[in-house]
Amino acid sequence: MTPPPADAWRRPPLPTLVAAILLIACAEVGGASMTKFKLELARAARAVMLSRPAVHGLVGVRDVDEQIIDEALVKFDAGLRLFHLHAEGMGLVIIATTMTAATLVQSAGARRVIILLLTVGGAGYPFGYLLWSALIPYYGIQTGKTVAEWTMWIPFGGATIVAAWWLVALVGARLVRRA
């Protein structure tokens, strides 16, 4: 068996690839579902909101409440759309960045940690939008956002950012050494 050429790209670990492809698959299922069940989802969210008037600040006057419910439904829909968008994008980001790490990071320890952070962070981050959407009817726009931020967006997004910049620094240092 002939060894691969020195400048060949290396594939990321299989679990990483599976996670990325699964994420893209979730994005597609999410996108299709939000289109197919748009009305049902909106009706269900509206019903939950109407059963929790205090959470949403509903006052029992149609001219006031319709606007509040409309805003919550727009954000609910935005959360689903952003999940679809980010899950598709982050799936590709995971593949591109972990392939770069697998190929160009020489230290085995650093490579493992970077790939792990990119995989876990990239795969978890988009689900923050799904969580936010799910929480809006029950806890309101702002509380839902705060929960999603602290449980999903900040830890998973932070992991991706840290790993991506770490990778940038390592690849940059490699270039400087070559020059």
Partner: protein, 221 residues
């Protein structure tokens, strides 16, 4: 070459992440069916397409709402407005619509007054409810402000002043050292004050009274 390509790809991948971290979309308030129908009719009248305006009125939610609330509206409002559109009298038709919105605003103001007077609720909750009702009042008044200003400038000024006053009491005064005006205008900062739902009642009642007066004068003119 492979290294530079990798750096470029990584920068592209890393850059959107922090920006996207707090991106949750923006909400622009939309018209409800009544305000949307009003705008359609108004623009048709302005374009002198009275047949279109009449059709939009005949089939739209405003006429349905006028019929549903007939007991609280001046007698004959629905027929007067329809007849004005059929006759191509844009000014009279628009006045009929203004009367309808004035009645909506009056009812919202009366509801706001009732809620503000309900001392079983804490003051902050009453102020928050009052603020929401004021926003709804303003959404409707904003639609007819120009026309109200043409028919009854005093009523238009009275509503605006009462609205500003009520909103000020709903939000509380700004803190010391802060001012709503730029430095150069030397506006004396007001002391800190909590939202005052009780004080909101008087300007809200003034809005209801002004709208009642507007309805009476519009129908008798």
């Amino acid at each position: 070459m492979r290294g530079w390509l990798a750096v470029a790809l990584l920068l592209l991948a890393a850059a959107p992440a922090p920006a996207a971290a707090h991106h949750v979309g923006a909400y622009v308030p939309r018209d409800n069916e009544v305000s949307a129908n009003f705008k359609q009719i108004k623009f048709s009248i302005q374009a002198r397409k009275f047949d279109v305006a009449a059709r939009l009125y005949e089939t739209g939610p405003i006429r349905t709402a006028i019929r549903a609330q007939a007991a609280r509206l001046p007698a004959g409002l629905e027929e007067t407005t329809r007849a004005a559109l059929a006759a191509g009298d844009g000014a009279r038709a628009e006045r009929g619509l203004v009367v309808f919105f004035a009645a909506l605003i009056r009812d919202l103001a009366l509801e706001a007054d009732r809620r503000l007077a309900d001392t079983r609720e804490p003051a902050s909750a009453r102020a928050a409810t009052g603020q929401k009702l004021l926003e709804a009042i303003w959404r409707y008044y904003n639609l007819v402000d120009f026309t109200v200003g043409q028919y009854d400038p005093k009523a238009a000024v009275a509503v605006r002043l009462a609205f500003d006053e009520a909103e000020g009491y709903a939000q509380g005064s700004p803190g010391p050292g802060t001012t709503v005006a730029p430095e150069s205008r030397r506006v004396t900062p007001r002391p800190v004050a909590a939202p005052a739902p009780d004080k909101m009642r008087e300007p809200v009642q003034r809005i209801a009274g002004t709208m009642s007066g507007l309805i009476e004068t519009s129908m008798t003119r």
